[in-house]
């Protein structure tokens, strides 16, 4: 438990720093928020009013605290372009991104795990060599190239999937999954290559351990040795990387979101950046960064659960 407490304290400080940086980042950039918010046809009085409304006349630390307080209570301001409250927009869009990510991770793991197991079992054989090479190639393809290739083949030529747009999950779950398949696959392609190689390598390494020879020497089937003995210890890296990817992709999937016109949070932030709309960018970035930090924290904890050695660490001599 001391372990958890220590982590929580460091978590707190990092969150503090992250939110502070989000806040100050936009303050540091050139451009006058007040003028943008005020609009094109802004006169001096309106400008001053906007400044007062935005609290820009107060000392910066005060602004930060006020902003932090508001953010924590859900008030992240209003977008200057479409006057929509930022928190509302994020509430709509974050789940979409999360769905996309979960979908893509499932596809990636679903392909990578079996392939990795097979490759490791017959390490050095044809399947292994071919799959490793293919995987290496796949992860060298930039995601936007994957996207247009998939669109070319499956949307344009075969017409199986739409190239843009999707139906909301709440309206029609199956159709939604169908529509989101290509974008999810786009993200999954690079991930599955990485996961497969990662798992394969760890498995090969584990399979050389003494306890695997010992398990073999018990006379149990090689499938059992692979799945019951070798698999679990080999998943640590995989779980870590998958988790970290998940955290990273919350903001990092924006290219795919833009290409496939998905209303996710990444795209929201990009639109904000391009439109010089600072408030949504600030809100979006804070949410994404905090999510990333929290996910990493969860992974650290998860590590303790998966590996019983760590759980019991303090208990041993």
């Amino acid at each position: 438990m001391r372990f958890v407490r220590k982590k929580l304290i460091s978590l707190f400080f990092v969150l503090l720093a992250v939110t502070a940086l989000s806040f100050f980042m936009l303050r540091l950039l050139p451009g006058d928020t007040a003028r943008v918010v005020c609009g094109i046809s802004c006169d001096e009085a309106g400008y001053q009013q906007t400044r007062a409304d935005l609290g820009l006349n107060d000392p910066v630390p005060v602004q930060y605290v006020r902003w932090l307080g508001k953010t924590l209570t859900g008030d992240m301001g209003i977008s200057a372009r479409n006057k929509q409250p930022v928190s509302e927009a994020i509430k709509e869009r974050l789940p979409v991104t999360l769905e996309l990510l979960i979908y893509s991770q499932l596809i990636a793991l679903g392909v990578a795990i079996p392939l990795g197991l097979i490759a490791a079992q017959r390490a050095g054989g044809i399947f292994d060599r071919v799959s490793t090479t293919v995987a290496f190639g796949l992860l060298s393809i930039p995601s936007f190239v994957v996207a247009i290739l998939l669109i070319l083949i499956f949307a344009v030529n075969l017409g199986w999937f739409p190239s843009v747009g999707y139906v909301k999950f709440s309206e029609d779950p199956l159709e939604n999954l169908h529509d989101l398949f290509l974008p999810a696959l786009t993200l999954a392609v690079a991930e599955m290559a990485v996961y497969m190689r990662l798992l394969r390598t760890d498995l090969i390494s584990t399979l050389q351990e003494d306890y695997i020879t010992m398990a073999k020497a018990k006379g149990i089937t090689s499938r059992r040795v692979l799945l019951r003995h070798a698999f679990r210890p080999s998943t640590f890296s995989l779980v870590t990387v998958a988790g970290l990817n998940f955290g990273r992709l919350i903001g990092g999937a924006f290219i795919v979101e833009v290409i496939f016109a998905i209303n996710g949070i990444g795209r929201y932030i990009v639109d904000g950046i391009l439109g010089r709309d600072y408030i949504p960018v600030q809100g979006g970035v804070v949410v994404v960064a905090v999510a990333y930090v929290l996910i990493n924290f969860a992974i650290d904890l998860l590590y303790a659960v998966i590996d019983p050695r760590i759980r019991h660490a303090r208990a041993i001599v």
Partner: protein
């Protein structure tokens, strides 16, 4: 705590950059690693987490280690050198101007266009505005390669210094530096770069490179720190210290040369990642402004005519893919080559 590197751009994770998360986890002071690191309790499983040592398929079963860079490395380097050479020589090569619009629209590869009595031969065809693809590819290479190189060099210098200091001096300073890196890592990489570029209103190669470079600082710092920690604890450093060597001497003579090697492979792969990042930004129209051609921009332009003339998008895609692949491969080989494994048969 918030762990490591796989942040540096999303698209492309070559094996090297992915395994460093392990090393980082190993050294970040998080519980998982305090126990399982060298000398920790579950010593036997250190290898699992020391995923820096990646087995080559050829290693399995025999215990023999291939210590050659291999033909593949030279081929890969050859391609990269070739493209770089073309890019550098672009101004003096007999190429059409990359921004010259003509009426020879969407010509296929290896075709000749005859307009107004003039024959122009297009090795790679033309795009929707009649511009010569080969020329645009080569000029676009200038953008991609410079961005890749400058970004990583910048990241290496800044991140390297931070990592060396953090890993060498340890203690509070390390905590502060790495904590800052953690915070920096929490921000989505490309978005951060994008924000920097957009808000500074400057679309020059330098700014774009620096924006991407800033994003690369944190992963590099982590890696350098992990390496520094690892080597700093080795006996030859202790030996040097007992001989009275000063800190700066130790850093420059003992630690730096050893740290350079794993960092080198990461750097090569990092260049690939930076190129993809620039490609991604260009794809969204956010890299250097037209009329300068960029690979990403070309791919984006080709998107509209995907149905009828896929080659317009596919050719730059292929070039980008190949360059990235070769860089990844070379970096991978370098890593394996310098990976010192103890123990033989």
């Amino acid at each position: 705590m918030p762990a490591p590197s796989s942040e540096f751009p999303a698209q492309n994770q070559a094996p090297g950059s992915d395994y460093f998360p392990e090393a980082d986890l190993l050294e970040s002071g998080s519980m998982a690693t305090e126990l399982v690191g060298p000398g920790g309790i579950a010593d036997g499983q250190v290898r699992e987490l020391e995923a820096l040592h990646i087995l080559d398929p050829d290693q399995v079963g025999s215990g023999a280690i291939k210590k050659r860079l291999g033909l593949g490395f030279w081929i890969a380097s050859g391609w990269v050198a070739f493209i770089t050479l073309l890019a550098i020589l672009a101004p003096v090569l007999p190429l059409e101007s990359p921004s010259k619009v003509s009426s020879c629209i969407k010509y296929p590869i290896l075709s000749t266009c005859t307009k107004a009595g003039v024959d122009t031969f297009h090795v790679l065809g033309t795009d929707s505005l009649g511009r010569d693809t080969l020329s645009r590819i080569i000029w676009g290479a200038r953008v991609s390669l410079s961005v890749g190189l400058i970004a990583i060099v910048f990241g290496l210098i800044v991140g390297g210094i931070i990592g060396l200091i953090a890993g060498f001096y340890k203690g509070r300073l390390e905590g502060l530096l790495m904590g800052s890196m953690d915070v920096l890592l929490a921000f989505p990489a490309l978005l951060l770069a994008l924000a920097i570029i957009t808000f500074t209103n400057n679309r020059s190669i330098l700014v774009i490179s620096l924006a991407i470079g800033i994003v690369s600082i944190a992963p590099i710092a982590r890696l350098v720190r992990a390496s520094t920690l690892m080597f700093g604890e080795r006996e030859f450093v202790l030996a040097s210290r007992t001989l009275g060597a000063s800190n700066s001497r130790i850093i420059s003579r003992e630690i730096f040369p050893n740290v350079v090697l794993p960092v080198l492979s990461f750097a090569i792969i990092g260049v690939a990642v930076a190129i993809v990042a620039e490609g991604g930004l260009a794809f969204l129209g956010l890299s250097v402004a037209p009329p300068t051609p960029t690979w990403g921009g070309m791919i984006n332009e080709g998107r509209n005519v995907l149905e009828t003339d896929p080659q317009i998008a596919l050719i730059p895609s292929a070039v980008l893919f190949l360059t990235v692949l070769m860089l990844n491969f070379a970096g991978d080989r370098v890593r394996e080559y310098f990976d010192v494994k103890e123990g033989g048969l």
